[in-house]
Amino acid sequence: MLLIDCPHCGPRAELEFSYGHEAHIERPKAPEALSDAEWADYLFLRDNTKGVILERWVHSHGCRRWFNVARDTVTYEILAVYPMGAEPPALERKTYV
C-alpha cells in the first residue's frame, strides 16, 4: 500500500489512486501517417524497467487530478512527484540487472 504524495492533497494511501502506467507517451499528431505496427506500439507496448520508471497516477478518490511519479520498481521508493505535462526532474534513472 504505497503512500503517494498527491501534489494537491498531500500524502495519501494508494487506495485513493488509480494507476496510469508509463508516462510521457504522447498521442501521435498524425495517426494516419503511422503503420499498423507503429500504431500498435503506441497503443500497447510499454516499458517494464527494473529500476526507476516514470509513471502516471490519478487521485481518483480525491481531487481527481493526474500527475507523474518517478518510482523505483525494486525498492518502491518514490523519488519524485511532478505535474502532468511537465518534464521529469533531474534524477538518477537507476536500473538493476
Partner: protein, 203 residues
Amino acid sequence: MPEILEHHSALAHLGLAARAVATRDAGQGVGLAEAPYRAAVNLRGRLDDAGFAAGAEQALGCALPAEVGAVATAGELSALALGPGEWLVVGGSDGPALRARLLAALEGVFASVVEVGQQYATIRIAGPKAAETLQKGCPLDFDAAAFPAGRCAQSLLSKIDVLVWKRSEEPAFEVTVRRSFADYAWRWLHDAAREYGVAILAG
C-alpha cells in the same frame, strides 16, 4: 393548480426523525444525524484568471481558497476547495438562486457553475468516538493535529467516495456522499459506531 410536491431526502426511507433521541448529546460514544438539505454548486474556474477570482468573491462574499482542503466561509455560504480550480459551494436552501448569483457574477468568464445540491446527502457524526469511527473505514489520519478544524478532505469510507469536513473544534464531522450511497454510508457508520454506543440525533 398543481399541489406542492413533497421533497424527499436521501435517507427519508429510514424514518430517522421518528427514531431520533431528544437530547442533542452524543454521550460517551457517537451521535449520527442526517443533515437537512442544503444548496450546493460545483464551481470550476482558474484562480489565475482575475475575472474568475473577482467574480466568485463578489458572489460569495469571500475569496475562494486556493489550497485544496481549505474552506472559506462568509455568512451562510462556505466554499470547500476540492481540487485545483474546483470548489463545492454550500449553504442556504435555494440551489437555483445560488447558481444564478454565481453565473451572473461570472458572466463572460470561463467557468462552470453546476447545481449539485440534490446529488448529495450529508451525515453528521459527532461525539468523543466520532474520529475513531471514521478511522475504521477511511485511510485519512483523523488525529486532531492531522485533521484540524476548518479543513475538508475527499477520500474513501469503506467502498464509497466521501467528502469529510470538520467544521469546528467540536469532535464532529460532516460526511457528504452521493445520494445513492447515503443508505450504505448511514448503515456502515451506525454499525461501526455500535461498539462505542450510538444515538440517532435530530438533523
